[in-house]
Symmetry: C2
Subunit: 333 residues, 2 copies
């Protein structure tokens, strides 16, 4: 097995203080590797980076059309959101349209990352609800599909029709039989794949416009929804939102816990998948921004890019005392 | 240069999801390495793990005696505290005794980690003060020393008498000329050392009771203060506090940012220093607890130990879906 390679570094004055190793793959629409760092066959959990795959059955089943899901709702189905008002108001409206309530969720409650929403809860002595969970949009998608299928309420169980449909779509687009699964932070199964498989799936999304099969048309809709609503996919200040805005609708990107990051680049028919071996998000953000810049689809001088590629480390008086930098291997193309 | 070795792993179901590499050294009181993992000569920033070294001049200068500093205040000088009421009330009283106020600090404001203190600020629409900064006890020590010396107010400048005294003590106990420094999150200089130098310093603290020189007597006082007040050194729920309580006053431990962890073991005249290469605290906590257990000074079955060595990863419904585990290399002694 190829070892992970240096991807991002934290410098403080003249000393390399910490270093992140990882794997990355750029794949084309034939499933071939265009470029790889580390081990493209490393087995990973994609975590939230595969939400657009998990949302495919919502469309291919006919549920999205029947329930009239807008592109906002499709973006939320692919989101790891901040729990801000713009997210939770839309999730609650979706739940209401399903005739359901917060207790129908199986994702668990989560304190919002959004500062205004969090402070409002704390000031009101309120506990967070399940709709605040960063995955509540994905779970709305699961609930919609379950209702459409007439399936039972325990939609995160591995043998529930919703998760069986997700697994089938996942294996189809990664081009691999998934060897196993783990349980994600939101209680849904998360299927294992190689990094190559995940990049292949992203390239398949990127080239979906070339095809007219049901699954590819669903992929086109989801990618379009993500790039149309970068604020719904993550939130203010977040890498996914800022990088998608910087690329002005040309590229979809998505983060996942434990430092996974993917990109869908329709104009190049390419997909990217990154996994930092130690699970540090500061490094996966640096790596994906560096690779996207190297491919010429992300302006290296855009403030959103600069913030990820050379993220300043501030002290408590807001003076820069260190800096994240991409490792040399990522820059040499 | 020896590469870092596996130290801690995150498992989710049957798959190793993330892995942390690092360096560790156990040193005896002659400065010799008893056992090492990775590269003992790796150059690091000790960050907050060296606060007991930074506090030495406070005592050797005669300031601590003149100002009648209690063991509580000496523990706070070595602390990275949570900003809870037990910490901030004591820091404010210390400031008041100096005839000083919050604006004399140079550490910058920080929202407290302590939930009650944080929620109280948010509910009161108040911004955090500098005394909430996790380093405010160390800065009280700096202010006390500066006042004792009759030195100026900019006590975090590299050429200020306080920092010159800190550097002198640092180089003496690490046994190395420090090749450089960076600026810490609290704006104080943080001097570079090898991991071996840091472990040597901790062994020097551990054996201080064997010697009666001024510096060694100061070291004894600081170690005694830390183990007497584990709640002041960090806070409820924190690894330093819980592990020191579990070892019932026999061992002092201290964390530092970017995954440094040290231990002072007087009964063995040994010191330990750990640095996780990627800066992940979950891994440094796992590593230090594993090494202390291996040395027989920390009960492997104590809940505080178990929480660090095999830290459960819970989903949002509080079900365990993953686990931190020490890497095999750390267990094979």
């Amino acid at each position: 097995m190829t070892q992970p390679v240096p991807m991002a570094e934290l410098w403080r004055a003249d000393l390399l203080e910490s270093r992140h190793l990882g794997h990355a793959v750029i794949c084309d629409d034939s499933g071939q590797i265009v470029q790889a760092w580390g081990d493209p066959e490393a087995l990973i959990y994609p975590r939230s980076s595969c939400k657009m795959i998990q949302a495919l059955p919502l469309i291919t089943s006919g549920a999205a059309a029947k329930y009239g899901l807008t592109s906002e709702r499709l973006a939320l189905a692919c989101a790891s959101h901040n729990g801000a008002e713009i997210h939770t108001s839309r999730v609650r409206a979706w739940l209401q349209d399903l005739g359901m309530g917060d207790s129908d969720f199986r994702c668990g409650p989560q304190m919002p990352d959004d500062r205004d929403a969090r402070y409002a809860l704390i000031r009101g002595y309120e506990a967070p609800c399940q709709y605040h969970n960063n995955c509540s949009g994905k779970h709305c998608g699961f609930l919609t599909l379950a209702q459409h299928m007439g399936a039972g309420p325990e939609y995160v169980e591995i043998d529930h029709p919703v998760q069986r449909a997700v697994r089938e779509a996942f294996e189809e687009v990664t081009g691999e039989a998934s060897p196993g699964y783990g349980i994600d932070g939101c209680s849904a199964p998360n299927f294992q794949t190689t990094l190559h498989g995940l990049a292949r799936a992203m390239a398949w999304f990127a080239s979906a416009g070339d095809r007219s099969d049901r699954q590819s048309m669903a992929a086109q809709q989801l990618t379009a929804a993500m790039v149309a609503h970068p604020d719904l996919v993550a939130g203010e200040g977040r890498a996914c939102t800022e990088l998608m805005r910087a690329m002005e609708g040309r590229v979809a990107v998505k983060t996942g816990a434990e430092a996974v990051f993917v990109a869908i680049i329709p104009e190049k028919r390419m997909g990217i998948a990154v996994k930092i071996a130690d699970g540090a998000t500061r490094a996966s953000e640096c790596a994906i921004a560096t690779i996207l810049s190297g491919l010429g689809v992300l302006d290296p001088d855009h403030p959103a890019t600069v913030r990820r590629i050379t993220a300043p480390q501030l002290n408590r008086r807001d003076v820069e005392v260190g800096q994240i930098r991409p490792a040399a291997a990522l820059l040499s193309r």
